[in-house]
């Protein structure tokens, strides 16, 4: 039994849900999380101007940038070139937690990757942790039976 913890883009959540259902994953837990990876939350101005951002992130952005314009505090309000990178700090992400049988891990990881890979920074991470046991609260079933 393995626990899969995936951090994904907010806008890919529905696609991920569909992909997980397709590979037969039934139980999933979702968390709202913020964070950043190696790029320290830098987002290119071009990407911010694009339509891939969700409302949540836009609102955060508007609170950071005065007047909703693409300006960087470091440049004293001067417009930022389209290919500039803006320090955004903690980016809104969705964390997905699921527990699957050992033999399902590769299939599920592949499904999450396929649903989320854009090739740009910020596609997310998948962590796989060992899980000793599971118990269904309703019936008390243990181990693999609790997942079936």
């Amino acid at each position: 039994m393995k626990q899969i913890i995936a951090l994904i883009r907010e806008e890919q959540v529905e696609a991920t849900k569909a992909a997980l259902e397709k590979v037969g994953v039934r139980g999933v837990t979702f968390l709202y999380a913020t964070g950043h990876g190696r790029q320290k939350g830098y987002v290119s101005a071009r990407e911010l101007a694009g339509s891939s951002l969700n409302r949540n992130m836009r609102m955060q952005l508007e609170s950071v940038l005065p007047g909703g314009e693409q300006t960087d505090p470091g440049t004293n309000g001067a417009p930022v070139p389209a290919d500039a990178e803006l320090a955004f700090g903690f980016l809104p992400k969705r964390m997905i937690i699921l527990v699957v049988y050992n033999e399902e891990v590769n299939r599920v990881v592949q499904a999450i990757v396929n649903a989320n890979q854009t090739g740009r920074y910020g596609d997310g991470r998948i962590f796989i942790c060992p899980m000793i046991s599971a118990i269904r609260v309703r019936t008390g079933e243990q181990g693999n039976n609790a997942l079936s």
Binding site: Q3, K17, E21, R26, G27, V28, T29, F30, L31, I97, V99, C129, P130, M131, I132, S133, A134, I135, R136, V137, R138, T139, G140, A146
Partner: protein, 119 residues
């Protein structure tokens, strides 16, 4: 040392926490989460809800406390109705158990080798 992840109903969270506290298991992290189990959520007419609100408790206990902790969560988180006197009701949640290699206390920067109830 073991880590217990319990996904339970928000309605029973307070009861579970109180019972754990009374049993001397005081340290825990509580998360508001959404999710679904093998029933894939709830369909109400044409609307299909896949993100049902739940509470997730993350508890780290020593090996000897695992059984006690699981029993308490099971007892308190299980809902009982006339139709299901023995089993609970779908949506009562799950308990997952994994192991913890090391724990460090930030205050003392020291490795934690025993939990409170061991001492």
């Amino acid at each position: 040392m073991k880590m217990i992840w319990a996904v339970i109903r928000p309605e029973s969270a307070q009861r579970v926490i109180r019972a754990l506290d009374a049993a001397g298991i005081g340290g825990m992290t509580r998360l508001h989460v959404t999710g679904h189990g093998r029933e894939m959520g709830i369909a109400l007419g044409a609307v299909h809800y896949t993100e049902i609100p739940k509470e997730m408790l993350m508890i780290v206990v020593s090996d000897s406390e695992v059984a006690k902790t699981v029993t308490i969560i099971r007892t308190e988180a299980k809902t009982v109705s006339e139709n299901t006197p023995v089993e609970g009701i779908i949506g009562d949640g799950k308990i997952f158990i994994t192991y913890v290699e090391d724990t460090f206390a930030i205050r003392t920067a020291g490795k934690v080798t025993r939990t409170r109830s061991d001492t």
